[in-house]
């Protein structure tokens, strides 16, 4: 099996699962309980938080556990809207955000907030000048993702941060779900970023885990009210096993990060070099430093993305149409649409997304499979 769909999800590492199991079995007390069953659960939760904070260069008080990327995105967006609606109702985002951001924005638009959706260039990147032009006195939030989930474009977070230094009251949120472990921490945690959202299952932790980074002093309203867990910001009895497993997964990802990015770049290069030989193949992802190491989006002209996915599946190779979340809905890829790629081409797009476990041997196997598949479709392509 060759698994090239790591942006959809990753496989939980066995030792991470072992941590999850052990904690579930042995440290099952409620962290809020004062007795000796609750106490270690609390301590483990806080130790996990501290470890994650250390790994991302934040303070423990700046890390809040969530159930994943979608919750984090929804929380920062709506939590900002609730906290800052007195000061304005204008929000800036891009046309290539994940659905969790887009649809949270859409909901706010229905409640009277005004959303400016910025266009992207042919690489799928926002132009910092557009952000500057869109900023207004009543702007409360700028939400731009770090790495696009469909084509891997890295957004100019630092440049946007520089612009926002002149607008110190505006919340700057970065959806960093696709950026973790990809050698991009300098970008995601540049000093003007106020919030960043993360999802555990994208880096070998179990489903239902995630966290947000929230800069000290920046205020969010909670979305989930209740017993006051997570310093009153996110109620609900804590998922201690999930938090511990995620802390472990993140440590391992960080330990292997430099190697893994190098390997991914080599694998991506090998596949891209191969694909570029074919006239009817479009590459949407670039190989320059505007793109993350792990995503390669391409299309075979005239062949539907879904057809390509299944053709590879038959050879035990797993890729996806562009975004797994929407790929069953036949919706054309929204990022490609924002890049003004014609719909007829966009519906042929498929995405390879690499992980730390992928190898050059797999790239070679993929390339060989591609040749066979391409030859099979020869009749309908030409």
């Amino acid at each position: 099996m060759i698994y090239f769909d790591n942006s959809a999800t990753t496989r939980v590492w066995p030792d991470v699962l072992a941590t999850y199991d052990q904690v579930t079995e042995k440290i099952w007390g409620n962290p809020s309980s004062l007795h000796r069953l609750g106490e270690p659960a609390w301590n483990l939760l806080e130790q996990s938080r501290r470890q994650i904070a250390d790994l991302i260069g934040a303070k423990p008080g700046e890390v809040f556990f969530t159930s994943g990327g979608s919750e984090g995105d929804n929380w920062v967006i709506k939590g900002t809207a609730l906290a800052k609606r007195k000061f304005g109702k204008h929000i800036i985002t891009s046309g290539v955000e994940h659905a969790a951001v887009r649809n949270a924005m859409a909901q706010l638009a229905g409640l009277g907030f005004e959303i400016t959706t910025l266009p992207v260039d042919e690489e799928g990147r926002v132009k910092p000048a557009d952000v500057k032009a869109a900023l207004r006195a009543d702007t409360i939030l700028v939400s731009i993702m770090a790495v696009n989930n469909e084509i891997g474009a890295i957004q100019p977070i630092k440049e946007i941060g520089e612009i926002l230094k002149d607008y110190p009251r505006v919340h700057f949120m970065v959806d960093a779900v696709q950026a973790i472990g990809k050698g991009l921490d300098d970008l995601v945690f540049s000093d003007r970023v106020d919030f960043a959202t993360f999802s555990g299952h994208k880096f070998h932790a179990p489903r239902g885990t995630g966290f947000i980074y929230a800069k000290q002093g920046r205020r969010l309203e909670p979305l989930i009210n209740g017993g006051g867990q997570e310093r009153g910001q996110r109620s609900g009895t804590e998922n201690v096993a999930g938090a511990a497993a995620m802390a472990r997964a993140l440590r391992k990802v960080k330990e292997g990060e430099a190697e893994s990015v190098k390997r991914e770049q080599a694998v991506r290069q090998s596949i891209a070099d191969h694909l570029r030989q074919f006239d009817h193949v479009h590459l949407f992802s670039g190989l320059n430093d505007h793109f993350a190491s792990h995503v390669l989006c391409f299309a075979i002209e005239g062949v539907r993305g879904e057809t390509i996915v299944h053709a590879f599946e038959e050879r035990d190779i797993y890729i996806s149409t562009t975004s797994a979340c929407s790929s069953k809905k036949q919706a054309e890829a929204s990022t490609l649409a924002a890049m003004k790629v014609p719909a007829t081409v966009a519906e042929s797009a498929v995405r390879i997304s690499l992980g730390d476990q992928n190898t050059l041997a797999e790239a070679a196997a993929f390339n060989q499979a591609f040749d066979e598949i391409y030859a099979g479709f020869k009749k309908i392509i030409d």
């Binding site: 004062l34 270690p40 301590n43 483990l44 130790q47 996990s48 008080g61 472990r248």
Partner: protein, 409 residues
């Protein structure tokens, strides 16, 4: 920004530079404290000279040393410096690295050279001009010269043992070296206020020992661990702190049993203060410190202070007396004690709190009710049960499973 491994850190003294005849002992104290703060960096050498203190890194990680120095009281500012060979090209390379690290937007600068090695071929003016010119060429978009009020001053010192470059001035913790003002006993409960009071006392040069009252089974092991962990946080400012735990159960039970409800709190506090004073006398403390601020709760009215403080003639000092709660919380967050302080464990001040304590207790009445108790016997037994331990910077107590958990994580 790029990381630089510095060779030496030059420390400027704070107020103590102005303290006349005490100056030498202050400098010695600061030297000792800096050595204590850096004790686990084996290669580091500290020279406390009359004008400046020099930390020679000898390869120790300068970022880590800088973080430690930021917590040493008595330091006004400090500047990390690079040492290079006596060679102009090496000076250029080092200055370039300093600017690259420090500057990310356009600034004005100047070069200021001192030369104690007069054999070095370049004069001070020549060095200023040549190095300035080189940097302007290297950073045309970032640097402009302003010799009168530059944003950044690159200082070049040509000494016999090499050329030293500094550019950055880092703010120190200010205050006076811990220990220079003598020793005091801090009544540490575990709430938000007393750790902040302790921090402020240490900032004024007081060497503290923590006095903590514990009342099992009314207070838990966790409450004790919390007070110790807070002490570990505060020990970052002094290297280590002695933690004195005083058993208080018998006194609290007896007071509860015999004293009218309105005076429970006043009489308990009088016992605490008496005990702290006795410990201070035995351990050569000069004053008692606590975390009271005026008017917050019943025990903190002036009438209450009068009735409680009457048991001693040692000064009872209250560093946060005039602070608002929000100001105290702000400092607690800065020194990272807030999150610990709000852990919800009962301490000996919260158990046996009467529903309506006297906010204006009467001294005579308090003394009269105490007459019904065997004050000396209670004191003696409590003092016989004290335990003293040395708590080091950053030592943790609440999470007993840290190593076990580290395996899981």
């Amino acid at each position: 920004m790029a990381k630089i491994q510095y060779d030496e850190i030059m420390v400027r003294y704070g107020e103590l530079s102005t303290k006349g005849h005490n100056k030498k002992s202050f400098i010695d104290r600061l030297g000792t404290n800096v050595r204590k703060a850096l004790h686990d960096f084996d290669a580091v050498k500290v020279h406390a000279n009359p004008d400046r203190l020099h930390v020679l890194l000898n390869g120790a990680d300068s970022d880590q040393v800088i973080e430690r120095l930021k917590k040493v009281f008595g330091i006004q500012t400090f500047s990390p410096s690079l040492r290079v060979e006596k060679d102009f090209a090496a000076v250029c390379a080092a200055a370039r690295a300093l600017i690259a690290k420090q500057v990310d937007h356009p600034v004005t600068f100047k070069v200021e050279t001192k030369r104690s090695d007069h054999k070095f071929p370049m004069g001070t003016f020549e060095m200023n001009r040549e190095l300035g010119g080189y940097l302007l060429k290297e950073f045309p978009d970032l640097l402009t010269v302003d010799v009168h009020q530059p944003d950044i001053e690159i200082r070049v010192e040509i000494r016999l043992n090499g050329i030293f470059l500094t550019s950055e001035i880092i703010k120190g913790a200010g205050g006076l070296p811990v220990g220079s003002a003598g020793k005091g006993m801090m009544m540490l409960s575990g709430g938000i206020d007393s750790p902040v009071a302790a921090y402020l006392a240490m900032k004024r040069g007081v060497s503290l020992e923590m006095v903590h009252f514990y009342s099992p089974p009314y207070t838990s092991e966790q409450a004790l661990a919390k007070a110790k962990e807070l002490t570990g946080k505060l020990a970052q400012y002094s290297g280590s702190i002695r933690f004195i735990q005083v058993p208080f159960t018998e006194i609290q039970e007896t007071v509860k049993e015999k004293v009218p409800e309105g005076y429970l709190m006043t009489v308990q506090r009088r016992f605490m203060l008496r005990l702290a004073v006795e410990i201070a006398k035995r351990r050569h403390g000069l004053a008692i410190f606590n975390g009271e601020s005026l008017g917050q709760v019943a025990s903190q009215t002036m009438e209450s202070m009068l009735a409680i403080e009457a048991v001693t003639n040692l000064p009872v000092l209250r560093p946060v007396l005039s602070y608002d709660k929000t100001e105290i919380i702000k400092i607690a967050e800065q020194i990272d004690t807030y999150d610990l302080s709000i852990l919800p464990y009962e301490d000996c001040c919260t158990v046996f709190t009467p529903p309506s304590p006297k906010t204006k207790p009467n001294l005579e009445k308090a003394a009269k009710y105490e007459g019904w108790l065997d004050v000396e016997g209670l004191m003696e037994r409590a003092l016989a049960g004290i335990k003293i331990e040395e708590i080091h910077a950053g030592q943790e107590f609440l999470n007993q499973n840290e190593d076990v958990f580290a395996e899981l994580l």
